[in-house]
């Protein structure tokens, strides 16, 4: 599918400096849309959450949602931005079949928040990402392309449009070009998005689900000859909808750009599409003179001029700074630097915190999320937060283990059940019959059977080779289909043979 010439990553860095830019769209979790009173719930029947305004019917008009402005200001403040004393909405004019008005109501050169930064941690080192702006806008409808081979607009037999998403409030957060990242560029990109997502979660302004598109990242990348200190032509890669993909997309584009440049060809300034399955980008539309958005101030809306009192009041509602919070949590939980870094790196900080809050010990919470859950998420190719297992579930499973009702091995079966949607942990233990057998009678019979079936092993134990008990324990556990407390089994065997 792709004829791209890729230069190995290490070779790219020998000859080029990367410059990154990230544009992250955050869908706010307001009850109603940006400019009308329609609800914003995800997954409703198509075209049931619409009104004249978000359908763009002739004559309908927008009115700004106060809560969306508050969320925008809070995001701006959390990103250390200045908040505009006066700003406006503007129309971005372009035609697209799923855009009801054929212009997007957005902000142009007067964003609500600007000049901020976020300190991103990669391998224990802080890297400052400068924020150019955060502005408010509305989402478009969603096209479903039916027929054809690709499911994309080209070649489709026909297209359907769901306008439920049209008008949902978005905050677009744009970084300044991130230079000097070198080999860490892919990790910094990923860490920035992960940390931004944690911040959004802490602010409580969005569902922050990348898999549902409530956080969407566009990755801009350019290369310049090493040490030149200039910026090369950039590409904008869209559809990067997981943390892992952010890192992979940066890595891929760096290799591809280098391949093009090494062949002496120019980089086309274009939009590229990321393909999660194949791990490559393909060319989208070319950005050229043909794109002329003809921005002008939205005449149906009046300026937004947040008073300083309002801004300070909102500043008072900000959650703890993430860097300070991490230091505090690490001390509280007693994690080593490495454990903490792995937790943050896996995007599991919030999940671990919630799991601990639900009653699990810090080590247990970390163990489940970073081993079992991380593996399952990886296999499914989704984010940890997208798994059908909640922090409450994990805490409950750990409680069942602590109470001796199940063991770690059975716990994994409970997680299988949770992922399969079989109910709560307790329901799954019940339905799957996973509870450990603690009845000595049933265990005793199994132990007797194991001794009878393995007379030579039994003899060794009788001779004092207690270590041989492991083989008998295994046999008992097998007969009990794992539903036994291995410690109790060991005690029974030793009681009978010594």
């Amino acid at each position: 599918m792709s004829a791209d010439v890729l230069v190995p990553f290490d070779d790219v860095l020998e000859r080029f400096d990367p410059a990154l830019g990230l544009e992250v769209h955050v869908e706010l979790n307001t009850a109603s849309k940006m400019f009308c009173g329609c609800p914003t719930e995800f997954g409703a029947e198509p075209n049931t959450q619409v009104c004249p305004t978000c359908l763009g019917l002739p004559g309908a008009m927008p009115v700004v949602n106060r809560k969306a402005v508050e969320s925008a200001i809070r995001i701006g403040l959390a990103l250390n931005c200045e908040i505009a004393e006066w700003c406006r909405f503007a129309r971005k004019n372009y035609f697209y079949p799923d855009m009801p008005k054929n212009f997007q109501t957005s902000q142009y050169d007067e964003p609500i928040a600007f000049n901020g930064f976020m300190d991103v941690e990669v391998d224990g080192q802080a890297f400052r990402v400068e924020i150019e702006r955060a502005h408010m806008e509305e989402d478009t409808g969603k096209s479903l392309h039916v027929g054809g081979a690709t499911g994309r607009i080209h070649g489709a037999d026909y297209s359907l449009v769901d306008y439920n998403r049209a008008g949902i409030p978005l905050i677009e957060i744009v970084t300044r070009p991130i230079v000097g990242a070198g080999e860490k560029a892919p990790e910094i990109a990923k860490a920035y998005v992960a940390q931004l997502r944690d911040l959004i979660v802490a602010l409580g302004v969005s569902d922050a689900r990348m898999d549902q598109g409530s956080i969407r990242a566009d990755v801009n990348l350019s290369l310049s000859p090493r040490g030149a200190g200039t910026l090369g032509t950039r590409t904008e890669t869209k559809n990067v909808n997981s943390l892992r993909s952010v890192e992979r997309a940066v890595r891929y584009e760096m290799s591809r750009h280098a391949g093009v440049l090494e062949e002496g060809r120019p980089i086309l300034q274009e939009t590229r599409h990321w393909h999660e399955d194949t791990g490559i980008t393909t060319s989208g539309r070319e950005k050229s003179d043909a794109e002329d958005y003809r921005y002008f101030p939205e005449p149906d809306l009046v300026p937004v001029a947040p008073s300083r009192e309002w801004v300070e009041e909102l500043r008072g509602t900000l959650p703890e700074n993430p860097t300070q919070k991490r230091a505090r949590l690490q001390a509280e939980w007693g994690f080593s630097d490495l454990e903490m870094r792995d937790t943050v790196g896996a995007g599991a900080l919030g999940l671990v915190e919630e799991t601990i809050a639900a009653g699990a010990s810090p080590q247990a919470a970390r163990k489940w999320w970073l081993s079992d859950m991380a593996r399952r998420a990886n296999e499914a190719g989704v984010e940890l937060t997208a798994l059908a297992v909640t922090p409450l579930d994990v805490a409950r499973v750990q409680t069942l283990v602590d109470e001796g009702k199940i063991n770690d091995k059975l716990a994994r079966q409970v997680f299988d059940g949770l992922l399969a949607g079989e109910g709560t942990p307790d329901e799954i233990v019940e339905a799957r019959g996973l509870a450990i057998v603690s009845d000595d009678g049933a265990l005793g019979t199994a132990v007797d059977n194991a001794i009878a079936a393995n007379p030579d092993v039994a003899d060794k134990i009788r001779d004092g080779k207690v270590a041989a008990a492991g083989a008998l324990i295994g046999a008992v556990m097998k007969e009990m289909r794992g539903q036994a407390d291995a410690g109790r089994v060991r005690e029974l065997i030793l009681e009978k043979l010594t």
Binding site: A60, V63, N65, F95, N102
Partner: protein
């Protein structure tokens, strides 16, 4: 707003020509398929217009802040509360039709008009209803009969809703009978310009592209009419998307001036003005972006009011230029306008630009004015709105009106508003820019007309869009979309749209200075009386000049009224006098307008419309 490509604007702005290639590029941006003939035709036409509007580039504007909103408002928010949605059926209704559907014509004749009911004013009809002398059904039927009788000749209506109007009338009669009328005008019928959304009634904006569209919601103005109990007779004709001064740009054929059926009724709201002048409706709603209520009022001998920007909700008014549009009354008397203005005016949370403060009583002002005393009122005659380019008979009637106001006790001052000479150019940059964006939504996707491109198999959405927009929009609409696309495009924004917004500020400042010296400003409403149908159709600039005197008020957001000033000596056709007041002082229009009207009525010995030819049996 800064440009994407700084520095390029200066080098380009010297040029006042749009080449054929540029028109093709702009048409591409605006998704309109223009053929070679259209390109050949449009390029020189647009160059002439541009040559004229480019004159504002010479206005010094370095220290002038741009005006994008006529009134200084900030922080208009709604709370984050969920409101009821449309049903999926409503949301998906009105899917594009691929063939041409005929617009329903007026109702069948029901016999001769009943008595003199249709010749009475709305205030008189309201009194008659209150006194039990007539019923709403009777007078609604009388107007429907009148429509059936004369609208074949006048063509004021695009759609008549006899059934709906009679049902509303019956409900009004029940309320009257129960002693609980919904308002002073409960039961008095009205006509509504086809640019306002009416639930269940076609709304075409005079355009083919909206043929067959039936809105699933009511404009706020329409909802208020219904709440107040006014039966809606139907929807009136207009220039396509309100672009024009003659109603000749309606895709459904022109409206004829009841004073002379070979002449234009003004525009864009020629249908509303003609309906009222021809006694087809006692009241009508118009909309005024650059004079579309006032100029038709002047040339048909009726009263038209453009309220303060933000005084009447724009929700459901299909926008031409959002920062200029305003809906208002079209009536035969000043008092009727005040009564109707009070029904439709007032704050609307669905319109962010709606003014949220109480206004002085307009009806009281009109009644006070009718007593005829203007002692202490300072009338400012605007130097720049008169003289050259104005018809002698129009100026004579204007001077007569000024003299009558002086006789009533007013003091006259001469005021100069030097920036007004740039108003037309400013308007023809701001309006097309906003319109080009507003009209982008007509893309054949969700509603209205859908045209498949000829000779294209399996056309894409993009191709259908282009073909539909070419077939569905008329010439004037295309001209303005291209002009607006040009004024907003990269490299031209500062020189055109940006500069126009600065000049807009200067125009507002001129008004502010003038209102320091005068309580109201006066001028002729339109430079001429009604011209012949077809006379200016091929000369856009000549057509645009009709709005010379009315445009400044829209740019500054101030209110204005046009009151009939009599008949021009040379052609015996009606002329109008325009009265302008500061923003939010709409009551002054009614006080001064009613006083002038009273003096003129005395002079004429009865309503001016009594001098109009009878239309009964008028054949076409």
């Amino acid at each position: 707003m800064p440009e994407d490509t700084p520095g390029s604007s200066t080098s380009r702005s010297d040029r006042v020509e749009i080449t054929r290639d540029e028109v093709a590029h702009l048409a591409n941006l605006a998704r309109i398929d223009l053929d070679d003939a259209e390109l050949d035709h449009l390029a020189p036409q647009l160059s002439v217009i541009l040559e004229s509007v480019a004159s504002i580039s010479g206005v010094a504007g370095d220290d002038v802040p741009p005006t994008s909103h006529a009134l200084p408002m900030t922080n208009v928010f709604r709370e984050d509360v969920v409101r009821p949605c449309l049903t999926a059926e409503q949301a998906l209704s009105g899917a594009p039709a691929q063939g041409a559907a005929a617009v329903r014509g007026p109702a069948d004749p029901r016999g001769r008009a009943v008595s003199g009911l249709t010749r009475r004013t709305a205030a008189e009809l309201a009194d008659a209803l209150a006194a039990g002398e007539t019923t709403s059904v009777e007078l609604t039927r009388a107007h429907l009969d009148r429509i059936a009788e004369v609208d074949g000749a006048v063509h004021a209506f695009l759609h008549v809703d006899a059934e709906g109007a009679l049902a509303q009338a019956a409900a009004a009669d029940e309320r009257r009978a129960a002693g609980s009328p919904a308002s002073a005008l409960d039961g008095v019928p009205i006509a509504v310009k086809d640019v306002l959304a009416t639930q269940g009634l076609p709304t075409t904006c005079g355009s083919k592209i909206l043929e067959g569209w039936i809105p699933p919601y009511d404009a706020t103005v329409v909802a208020r009419l219904k709440q107040a109990g006014l039966p809606i007779l139907g929807k009136t004709n207009m220039d396509e998307f309100a672009m024009g001064s003659s109603t000749e740009h309606s895709a459904y054929g022109p409206t004829h001036n009841p004073w002379d059926l070979d002449r234009i009724p003004g525009g864009s709201g020629g249908g509303s003005a003609a309906a009222v002048a021809a006694f087809e409706a006692p009241l009508a709603i118009g909309t005024d972006t650059g004079g579309s209520i006032r100029q038709p009022g002047a040339v048909t001998g009726t009263v038209g009011v453009k309220p303060t920007y933000g005084g009447v909700s724009r929700y459901g008014l299909v926008a031409l230029a959002n920062s200029l549009d305003q809906a208002g009354p079209v009536t035969r008397t000043v008092l009727d306008s005040a009564l109707l203005h009070e029904v439709i005016g007032g704050h609307d949370p669905l319109d962010s630009t709606s003014i949220d403060q109480p206004l002085a009583s307009l009806v009281d002002a009109a009644r006070r004015g009718a007593a005829g005393d203007l002692t202490g009122v300072r009338i400012g005659v605007v130097t720049e709105l008169g003289g050259e380019g104005y018809q002698a008979g129009v100026l004579a009637r204007f001077q007569e009106s000024v003299d009558l106001m002086v006789k009533a006790g007013a003091e006259v001052v001469e005021v100069s508003c030097p920036s007004f000479v740039h108003a037309l150019a400013t308007y023809y940059l701001i309006l097309p820019a906003e319109a080009s964006s507003n009209l982008a939504k007509f893309d054949a996707m969700r509603y209205g007309m859908r045209v498949l491109p000829e000779g294209v198999e399996n056309p894409s959405a993009e191709e259908v869009m282009r073909a539909t927009r070419d077939a569905g929009f008329g010439d004037e609409v295309k001209r303005r979309i291209i002009l607006g696309t040009y004024a907003l495009s990269s490299g031209y924004y500062d020189a055109y749209y940006g500069q126009a917004q600065k000049v807009r500020t200067l125009i507002s400042r001129d008004f502010a200075a003038a209102f320091e010296r005068a309580d109201v400003l006066v001028s002729p409403t339109a430079p001429t009386t009604a011209f012949k149908l077809g006379e200016k159709l091929d000369d856009p600039m000549a057509m645009y000049l009709n709005d010379l005197a009315t445009i400044p008020a829209n740019l500054a957001g101030v209110p204005g009224i046009s009151v009939p000033s009599g008949l021009a000596d040379e052609d015996g056709l009606p002329a109008g006098v325009q009265i302008l007041a500061p923003a939010l002082a709409d009551d002054r229009l009614y006080r001064v307008g009613a006083a002038l009207e009273a003096a003129l009525l005395e002079q004429w010995g009865g309503p001016l419309l009594d001098k109009a030819p009878a239309l009964e049996g008028a054949a076409r």
